[in-house]
């Protein structure tokens, strides 16, 4: 119940950012869209999927992710039809399947996905800061460069975040996870 409320909260915040998404691609791509994904992740937090579903679910999540990474779909997401598609698919076809498949993914696959996320953010950052043309027709060139730098900062932050457990070991138990939460053990594994 608490998780459903949190999911609704994240979703409501994402919808509240409608005007901000029009004004800036950073708020659109790096705040509103992640909030929608978060809503899906949180909604499915206590759900479990059979192991055999893990790979198809991960593929569904990756497809949705790649779809919304296309610059033309970032433009499309500002039109009424695209906006509706964004609100539905990002939580349900990216957040939920990602959450359901994640516990079944081995450390090598997780590392592979994380490494790819970092290199992709780096490439996107370079592309958006150096492209000689406007990549999205709905945004200014200066905003495009802001988004490029935001991608680079995010890549740096995630690299630090993911390197800490590798270098210094996992914390024994996440402090905020109650001992009886079913997924607490999965999280600290």
């Amino acid at each position: 119940m608490r998780m459903i409320c949190l999911a609704l909260l994240a979703f409501a915040e994402a919808v509240a950012l409608r005007d901000a998404a029009v004004a800036s691609p950073v708020q659109h791509v790096l705040v509103q869209m992640p909030l929608l994904v978060l809503a899906g992740v949180v909604a499915a937090w206590n759900l479990k999927a059979p192991r055999s579903w893990a790979v198809p679910l991960l593929l569904a999540a990756l497809t949705t992710f790649l779809f919304w990474m296309l610059p033309r779909n970032v433009d499309w997401a500002l039109s009424p039809a695209g906006e509706a598609a964004k609100y539905i698919t990002l939580p349900l076809l990216l957040g939920v399947p990602l959450r359901l498949s994640w516990p079944w993914l081995g450390p090598i696959l997780r590392g592979f996905l994380k490494a790819n996320a970092l290199s992709m953010l780096g490439v996107l950052g370079f592309l958006y800061t150096h492209a000689p043309v406007r990549i999205c027709n709905s945004y200014l060139v200066s905003a495009q460069q802001d988004l490029g730098f935001a991608f680079l900062y995010l890549a740096a932050a995630l690299a630090c975040l993911w390197a800490i457990p590798v270098l210094f070991g996992h914390p024994r138990r996440l402090r905020w996870a109650a001992p009886d939460t079913p997924n607490a053990e999965l999280e600290v594994k």
């Binding site: 055999s52 579903w53 790979v55 198809p56 679910l57 593929l59 569904a60 990756l62 497809t63 790649l66 779809f67 296309l70 610059p71 033309r72 779909n73 433009d75 499309w76 043309v133 406007r134 990549i135 999205c136 027709n137 709905s138 945004y139 200014l140 060139v141 200066s142």
Partner: protein, 199 residues
């Protein structure tokens, strides 16, 4: 074994198919590329619209008697891209004039409130658009959204009171259909297209 692998293969195939569709077969990753591809594949009928030129006379947007019309969207106080694009437009005009091809060039303002005929005449003078083969014109304010929509031109205000827009050369062929989009500096490609489509 098959039952274990099949759902994953299916998911991969569906996912790949969706992404293939979403990029028009890995051809268009930006909305600008998508509109150019779409226009070539399915040309759009241009409505009968009258514009007002530098001397306040009405000019038709549609080609007259088999000519080809080249359109670019501008605003006259534009500081950067329109000025460069205008120089390329002038070059296209000069070369087509030398070839004796029946073509009309239109620079259409998307800011008809500020771009009065006087203002358009100043812009025309600066770029040697004399109103014969190449003229500057503005639509009525109420016709503007439909025009921008037809040509898929997105205009957004910038930080300095001007605009940013997807600048391009739009080709309306003799049959009255908007059927190609080129970069503003793709002078040779535009000339080749116009010569190829000449009756």
């Amino acid at each position: 074994m098959l039952a274990r692998v099949l759902p994953s293969v299916l998911a991969a195939v569906i996912g790949g198919g969706i992404l293939w569709q979403a990029t028009d077969g890995a051809q268009a990753f930006t909305s600008e590329a998508a509109r150019r591809l779409d226009v070539v594949q399915s040309p759009r009928q241009v409505p009968k619209v009258l514009l007002e030129d530098m001397t306040s006379r009405p000019v038709p947007l549609l080609p007259q008697a088999g000519e080809v019309v080249l359109v670019e969207f501008i605003y006259t106080v534009c500081g950067d891209i329109c000025q460069i694009a205008a120089a390329d437009f002038a070059e296209i005009r000069d070369r087509l004039q030398a070839q004796g091809v029946k073509v009309r060039l239109l620079s259409v303002s998307f800011d008809p409130e500020r771009d009065t005929p006087e203002q358009m005449a100043i812009y025309g003078d600066a770029h040697e658009a004399d109103g014969i083969m190449w003229t500057i014109a503005r639509p009525e304010q109420k016709a503007l959204p439909e025009l921008l929509d037809l040509f898929d031109v997105t205009v957004i205000p910038d930080e300095w009171g001007g605009y940013q827009h997807n600048a391009a050369i739009h080709v309306i062929t003799g049959d009255g259909r908007f059927s190609a989009v080129y970069d503003t500096d793709a002078v040779d490609a535009v000339l080749a297209h116009v010569n190829g489509s000449r009756p």
